[in-house]
C-alpha cells in the first residue's frame, strides 16, 4: 500500500493509507480525537458519537469514516468540543455512575473523559433509571447501572474470543446488554480469561476479586489525562 492519501485535520496536513479511518490516521499522527466505543483491534461501531468531527463541513464519526484524498477534517473546534461535552454528560445522566466508589475509578474511560473535559457535574437532570446487575458468574460481575451500551464487549467476544457471549435487547432508552443464554451470565460460555472483559471502558463488566487492586496514584489516568498516550506519539516524532 502506498501513502497516497493526503488530507488535513484542523489545518495540519497528514498522510494516510487507503482504507484507514480518520481516527486511525489521527492516532498514528499523535492527534487525539476523544472516543469511547472505539477500541483498536475491534471493528468500528460508531455508537457513542464522542468522536464526531466535521468532514468537509458535514458531521461524521471519525472511527467509521474512511479518509479520502483532499478531505478537510475539523476536530478541535468550540462547537465540536461542546457536542462531545454534551454527549459525555448524556452518558452520565443516562446511567447510575458512582465514581467515588466504583472499582474502575481512575481507570475508567468515561470518567477520564469527564476529567479531560472539565465536567464536574452534568447540566442535565439525572434520569436515575432502575437497572439490575448479574453476579451469577463465579468470576465475573456485571452491573447494568454502569453500562454505556458501547458494544465493546459484544464485539470483543465475537472478534477476539471467537464466542458470542453478549448482544443487545430492547430498543430506545430501554436498549440493554443481554447474554447469550435463557438464564443469567453464569449460563453462558464466558470465561474469566475472555478478552471481552478487558474491553469494557467503564465499571460494567468486572472480574471478581480484583477490585481496587491498583492503588491510587498508579491508576491509568491518575497523572495524565486520557488521550495523553496518543498525544505522546506526536511529541515523539
Amino acid at each position: 500500500m502506498s501513502d497516497k492519501i493526503r488530507f488535513s485535520i484542523d489545518g495540519v496536513r497528514m498522510k494516510a493509507h487507503p482504507g484507514q479511518t480518520i481516527m486511525e490516521a489521527a492516532d498514528e499522527a499523535g492527534i487525539y480525537i476523544p472516543r469511547l466505543c472505539h477500541m483498536p483491534g475491534l471493528s468500528p461501531h460508531g455508537s457513542c458519537r464522542v468522536c464526531t468531527v466535521m468532514v468537509n463541513g458535514r458531521p461524521a464519526s471519525a472511527c467509521t469514516q474512511p479518509v479520502a484524498d483532499g478531505m478537510m477534517v475539523e476536530s478541535d473546534t468550540p462547537a465540536l468540543l461542546e457536542h462531545r461535552r454534551v454527549l459525555i454528560e448524556m452518558l452520565f445522566v443516562e446511567g447510575n455512575h458512582y465514581c467515588m466508589f466504583c472499582e474502575r475509578s481512575g481507570n475508567c474511560e468515561l470518567q477520564g473523559l469527564a476529567y479531560r473535559f472539565g465536567i464536574a457535574a452534568p447540566r442535565f437532570t439525572y434520569i436515575f433509571p432502575k437497572r439490575d446487575l448479574d453476579a451469577s458468574h463465579p468470576h465475573v460481575f456485571f452491573d447494568r447501572n454502569r453500562c454505556i451500551t458501547c458494544a465493546r464487549c459484544v464485539r470483543a467476544s465475537q472478534e477476539l474470543d471467537g464466542k458470542h457471549v453478549f448482544g443487545f435487547v430492547g430498543r430506545s432508552f430501554h436498549k440493554r446488554l443481554a447474554f447469550n443464554s435463557e438464564g443469567p451470565l453464569a449460563d453462558t460460555d464466558l470465561e474469566v480469561t475472555d478478552q471481552a472483559l478487558d474491553a469494557c471502558p467503564v465499571g460494567a463488566l468486572l472480574r471478581k476479586g480484583e477490585g481496587y487492586k491498583v492503588p491510587i496514584g498508579q491508576r491509568l489516568y491518575d497523572h495524565e489525562p486520557i488521550g495523553s498516550e496518543i498525544e505522546a506519539r506526536k511529541d515523539a516524532t
Binding site: 460508531g46 464522542v50 430498543r171 430506545s172 432508552f173
Partner: protein, 608 residues
Amino acid sequence: MNESMEAKVARICEAHGRSRTRMLEITREVQSELGCVPPKAVTAIARELSIPRVEVEGFVSFYAFLSDHPTGRHVIRLCNCVIDRMRGYDGIAKLFQEELGIGMGETTEDGVITLESTPCSGMCDQAPSALVDDVVLTDLSRERVRDIVKSLRAHGDPSLLVERQGDGNNAHDLVQAMVHNNIRREGPLLLTPLNRGEAISKALGMTPVEVIRVVKAARVLGRGGAGFPTGMKWDFCRDADGDKKYVLCNADEGEPGTFKDRVLLTEMPDRVFAGMTVAGYAIGAEEGIVYLRGEYAYLRRFLESVLERRRADGLLGKGILPDQTSKPFNFDIRVEMGAGAYVCGEETALISSLEGFRGDPKTRPPFPAQKGYLGYPSIVNNVETFCCIAKILEVGAAAFSELGTAHSAGTKLLSVSGDCRRPGVFEVSFGITVRELLALAAGENAMAVQVGGPSGQLIGPESFHRKIGFEDLATGGSIMVFGPDRDILEIVHSFVEFFEEESCGYCTPCRVGNVLLKQTLERIMDGRGEPEDLELLETVSRTMKAASRCGLGQTASNPVTSSLAAFREKYEELLSKGKDGRRRAFDLNAAVAEAAAVANREPVRSHH
C-alpha cells in the same frame, strides 16, 4: 396429535429455508401459532437458524408487533398519533379500558384480548383508528367500543368488525377493509389510469443506461422526504460491482401523518411494481422486495395477487416481454412485512431488518448502492418514487418535469389531516404554497401546520406563503393541520414522545437526547420550567442534530426547534424564575416522599 413447541418452530423455520433473511416471517408465524415468541421458542429459532440466541432475543425485543410474553388471542392497538388524540383517542382508550377491565398494555384475565396503543398507523384522515390483529377499524366512536369488545368475545373474528367496506380496491375481495382512500385531488401524473405493461415495455426498448438517462432528465428526487436524485442513486448502483443487485421498495410508511403510500398501494400497485421492474432492468437486478409496514398487513394478499397477475401477463418472472429484448430479462418481486418499528423506514435500517437483524441503521459509507442488502449493491426507493418512475416511462421525462418547480420536478402526493374539513390525499405540483393547500383541504383556520411529519417543521401563519418543495418546505407527504384551539406544547410533546419510543437506541444523542427533551418539556408544561430550560432544549437539540448516526436522530429535535422558532411565546409564558434562588425544577416534596414513607411521618415545613 400434539405438536411440541420445538416441532412447530422447526416446521416454520424449515418452511422458510432456515434462512435468517426470513426472520420477520418466521417470528411472526411462531407468534401466531404460540401467541408470542417465548424464551424457549427464541432458543429453538436460534438453533434452527444456527445463529446466537441473543441475536434472536434482540430481534424479537426490537419490534413492537412481536412479544416475548403471552398476549391475548386478539390484540387491539389504538392509534395514539397526535391527530387521533385530537379526535378522541383519550376517551376511546378510557372506554376500552373500562369495558375490558384492564389498563393499556394489559391482557384480560381470560386471555382473549390485549389492549395496546401504537404510533400513527397511517389512517389520520379517518381517525381515530385501531388495529384489531390485522384488521383496520377507522372513524372509531365511543359508541362502538362496547360493540367491538362484545362481538370480539362472541365470535373471535376481527374481520366481522368491518361495518362497511371502503371505496376502490378497499372493497376488493382480498382486501375488504373499511379504509377509505379519500382521494381529494387526482392527477395529473400519479393517480391516473395506466396500461400495466406500458412502462416496462418502453424501458425494454432502451438500453439500461438510456433508461437511467431518462430518469435523470426527469430530475426526479426521492419522494420519501430526503429528496436524493433517483437517477444518480441508480447510476451508483449500476456502476457498483456485485454478482447480484437488489431493488428494495420502502413501503414502511411510518412518518406520522403520512398515508399516501397506502393509497398508492391500494389503487396503483401496478405502477409501483412497474417502477420497480424498470429499476431492476436499469441497475441489473433480478430481485425486488417490498418492505411493507406491519400496519398495512391487510393489503398483503391483494398485493401478492397483483404480482401473480403480472407474472401471468409476462411482466414479472423469467423472460419478461421476451419479444422486446435481445437477451432475457428476469425480475421478480416479493413482499416482506415489517413488524412495528418506525426506524425501519430509514433505508439502511430497512436493510438490516430484511436481513434478519434488529432494525439498526448501518454505518455509512458504504452506501446501499455500493453495499446494501446482504452486501450486494441495492437501491432503496419510496413507493411514490417508483410510481414516478413508471409515469416518466409512460409519458416521457419532459412531460414529467414540466410540472413542479425548477428544483423539484413533477407532482407530489400529500396526506393532509387534522383540523380541516377535507382530509385526505392530494396530488399537487411542487411549488404549491401552504396557504393554497389549506384552501384545498378546507383548513383555512389553521394556527399551525406540521409539514413533513414530526421529523419536519412546525410552521405558523407567517410562513403559510412558503412553498412545498425540496428547496423550501420538504416533506415526504405528511401535512398536519392544527386549529386555533390546539395546544402547541401538547403537539410537540406527542412528537417527542414518539421519537423517544422509536429511537433504535444505538447512538447516544438520539437514545438519551429524546429522553432529555421530553423530561425538560414535561417540566415546562408542568409549570416548573425556568428560562434556562429553553437553552437546555436548544443545546440538546443541536447535539442530536449534529452527532446522531441516522436521519431519525438528526431530525428528532425538529419539533422542539421549529416550535421554538415559530411559537417561542407559548413556551415563555410558562416559565418563571425560582424564588430565593431555588431551582423550580427541584420538587422538594417529591424528593423526600420516599423517605417520608419509610419514616412514616410527614416532613415538617419551615415557615420563615
